[in-house]
Amino acid sequence: MTPRTEEYEPTIVSFLCNWCSYAGADLAGVSRIQYSTNIRVIRVPCSGRVNPFYIIKALQNGVDGVLVSGCHPGDCHYISGNYYARRKFALLKRYLEYIGIEPERVQFSWVSAAEGGRFAQIVEKVINDVRKLGPIKSSIVKKL
């Protein structure tokens, strides 16, 4: 994405599960916790709903990093969605790293609804990691 100032600012898209992570992010907002604004949030009902293709599609559209966050294991509102998500993303992360996409670009976390501060910390970490890496490789970004 084109930088707004001379310094490069990454764009991160995040998929937050409605019941835990999104609520955690909301708590961070209500508590007036300051964190970087490079993150764009997409609310999904469960982390298990996140199709790995969404992540690849986001990278294709030029975002520099993706964060997927769900409920802690054992706390999923739909009982087992986050377990299936964990398996899918373990494989996806290894696979993307294998073909040459930096592993810090696609990150996964568990954030509960009470962890507003922790959500802000994770977001800052992801943004800093991606800022160091620079813009995503141009050949994966769709031009046509």
Partner: protein, 321 residues
């Protein structure tokens, strides 16, 4: 071995146990056989079995058993199929995913010692080729004959195969299968390369792709009535010649094989431009084995890894602040 195959199939037709048999017949091009569908006992003499039978015949099974019409009993044919190790594993995968009914399938297993890879014969324009006792005699355009040992031409994927006999069968033809297994190190070697080198290799392989979808057509696991590539809402892999669309197609198709790919090599053999797909598919096979101790196509009862979970699955990859 070939006689026994033909006798078994003839007996199946004479005893009216099958309606159609899927096997290999003489091909029209040199050094190739063609899959064929026999329907009478007289045609069984057309069947062949040699080192040119590279196709994975399990890809033809799901189309015989299309979903049942509403309110009526399905009139599915009884299908016989000739399987070797890798085809048999694909068949078990199809049974697991309920794409074929076991009662309507008659499996004739044959031990396999590997097929040749035509791409390994370089520099000769082949007009005719015959197999004879461990070698292939090739006749080129000028009429000159050349003898090549089959062991030097075997496909890499066959060299590393450890499944010489299919995991499930109704009849097993007697014969000698493979004896040695050469392990495949492509993934480990690839991981030693730097990140930029790996991306450049991936980009270079993908840029060869002409989006013919032969890999998808040859793969028995790609039985979906609507493939993600054909979906227009959402449009996952666009139909432009932008390399990012082709990258999406390959990343997507190979990821859809996670936990299902049996490493049969049909996609690699089918690719007209010679993309090294195995380097990428094998990584997922290794990861599934490493993380979830699962190998596709061996057991019908074991659930596939992505439809099950354990509460203590590996989560080293998760981000902590």
């Amino acid at each position: 071995m070939l006689n026994e195959i033909r006798q078994t199939v003839k007996k199946l037709f004479n005893e009216n146990k099958i309606d159609v048999f899927i096997g290999f017949c003489e091909g029209t091009l040199p050094l190739r056989t063609t899959p064929c569908f026999i329907t009478t006992a007289d045609d069984t003499d057309k069947l062949v079995w040699n080192s040119f039978c590279t196709n994975n015949l399990a890809v033809y099974l799901p189309r015989f058993f299309l979903p049942k019409p509403r309110g009526k009993e399905p009139k599915w044919p009884r299908v016989g199929i000739l399987v070797n190790g890798c085809t048999g594993r694909s068949l078990v995968g199809l049974l697991q995913e309920k794409q074929i009914p076991r009662e309507n399938t008659v499996i004739v297993g044959v031990p396999c010692d590997g097929m040749i890879d035509i791409k390994k014969i370089k520099g000769i324009e082949i007009i005719e080729g015959t197999e004879k006792k461990g070698s292939i005699i090739i006749v080129d355009k000028t009429g000159k004959e050349k003898e090549l040992k089959i062991d030097s031409l075997r496909a890499d994927i066959c060299l590393s195969c450890s499944c010489f006999v299919p995991p499930v069968y109704d009849y097993l033809v007697k014969g000698k299968g493979k004896e040695t297994v050469v392990p495949y190190n492509g993934v480990e070697d690839f991981e030693k390369m730097s990140r930029q080198e790996r991306w450049s290799f991936f980009e270079e392989q993908i840029s060869k792709c002409i989006r013919c979808y032969a890999c998808r057509a040859a793969c028995p696991n790609c039985w979906c009535k609507e493939c993600f590539v054909d979906q227009s809402l959402p449009r996952w892999a666009g139909i432009t010649n932008d390399i990012s669309d082709t990258m999406f197609y390959h990343i997507g198709r190979i990821f859809h094989q996670a936990g299902r790919c049996v490493d049969c090599g049909a996609c690699v053999a089918a690719c007209p431009v010679g993309i090294d797909l195995r380097k990428f598919t094998y990584k997922l096979i290794m990861d599934v084995k490493d993380l979830y101790e699962y190998e596709a196509g061996l057991s019908q009862e074991e659930p596939p890894p992505l439809v099950t979970y354990k509460p203590d699955d590996e989560q080293e990859f998760m981000t902590e602040p």
